[in-house]
């Protein structure tokens, strides 16, 4: 999915404070982009007839937007994910994805980073919200 903005080089998550808001990234969800996504997830191509972007495609954009903004060490694991689908997004729309570092926790040998993610449509309405927890080895 092509990213129209966000040219900053990624920084280590350790350098980012709680509350840090990631610069937004835009994604144009064209028919060809969604068709590629559907092929990748083994979904029937006739999903395209619905004219609706699969919500996990939007979530993928949101996660990619954040992952391009900071780095984590090797061995880090995407531990959990929460998502809420708020509005339908038509194929062809452009969304803006962003988020922030909501929490940093210590759990034994792991550090946990809780990221809040969101996606907005062209009317600046929230179409997706969520939280991702990444477990980082110390």
């Amino acid at each position: 999915m092509n990213n129209k903005e966000s040219d900053s080089s990624p920084v280590s998550f350790e350098q980012l404070p709680i509350g840090y808001e990631f610069p937004p990234s835009s994604y144009e969800l064209s028919t060809s982009v969604i068709s590629k996504y559907l092929e990748a997830v083994g979904e029937q191509p006739d999903f395209l007839k619905s004219g609706i972007v699969p919500p996990l495609a939007i979530a993928a954009c949101a996660m990619t937007a954040l992952s391009q903004s900071f780095t984590v060490p090797p061995g880090s694991i995407h531990a959990s994910q929460e998502l809420e689908f708020l509005k339908l997004v038509p194929i062809g729309a452009t969304i803006s994805c962003g988020g922030k570092i909501a929490q940093k926790l210590e759990r034994g040998r792991l550090s946990l980073i809780v990221l809040e993610i969101n996606a907005l449509n062209q009317d600046r309405e929230k179409v997706l919200a969520g939280k991702a927890t990444v477990a980082v080895p110390k």
């Binding site: 609706i52 993928a60 994910q81 339908l88």
Partner: protein, 141 residues
């Protein structure tokens, strides 16, 4: 795609229509292209072989997309527009794994007159190992 199921057709204890997917490195590579996530653990077999994982693994969000497909099959647009997922990634999915997504309706409740369907779901590999576990809630429109 089902438009929106009727409340009268949904019952506590009902199983959701399972989804079975065969994970291939080709699909993982396609997902990397589609999502922009080119972490070498997913696509670089030589790199991944040297890690504790011993080989490439599928993106967690790829497997989660399978779970969303199951929910879409069951609830149609109600899922796409009013769904919530909360899951833990328990184990990696690897190329050549067969992932079965299953779920069931745990309860149906009414909040401010709107019915919400609470589901549990699991993604398991061919060895019965749980890859993803969690729940989903559907707001019936």
């Amino acid at each position: 795609m089902n438009e929106k199921p009727k409340l009268s057709d949904i019952h506590q204890g009902d199983s959701l229509p399972s989804v079975v997917k065969h994970v291939t490195q080709q699909e993982i590579n396609l997902y990397a292209e589609a999502s922009g996530d080119f972490n070498p653990i997913h696509i670089d077999e030589a790199f991944a072989a040297k890690t504790p994982l011993g080989g490439t693994i599928a993106h967690g969000m790829l497997i989660l997309a399978y779970a969303s497909e199951m929910m879409t099959k069951a609830f149609g647009k109600s899922w796409l527009e009013g769904g919530k997922l909360s899951v833990r990634f328990k184990a990696p999915a690897r190329p050549q794994d067969t992932i079965t997504v299953s779920g069931k309706i745990d309860s149906i409740e009414s909040i401010e007159g709107i019915p919400y369907v609470n589901c549990s779901l699991e993604c398991c590999n061919q060895n019965g190992e749980v890859v993803i576990t969690g729940g989903a809630v559907v707001k019936l429109q």
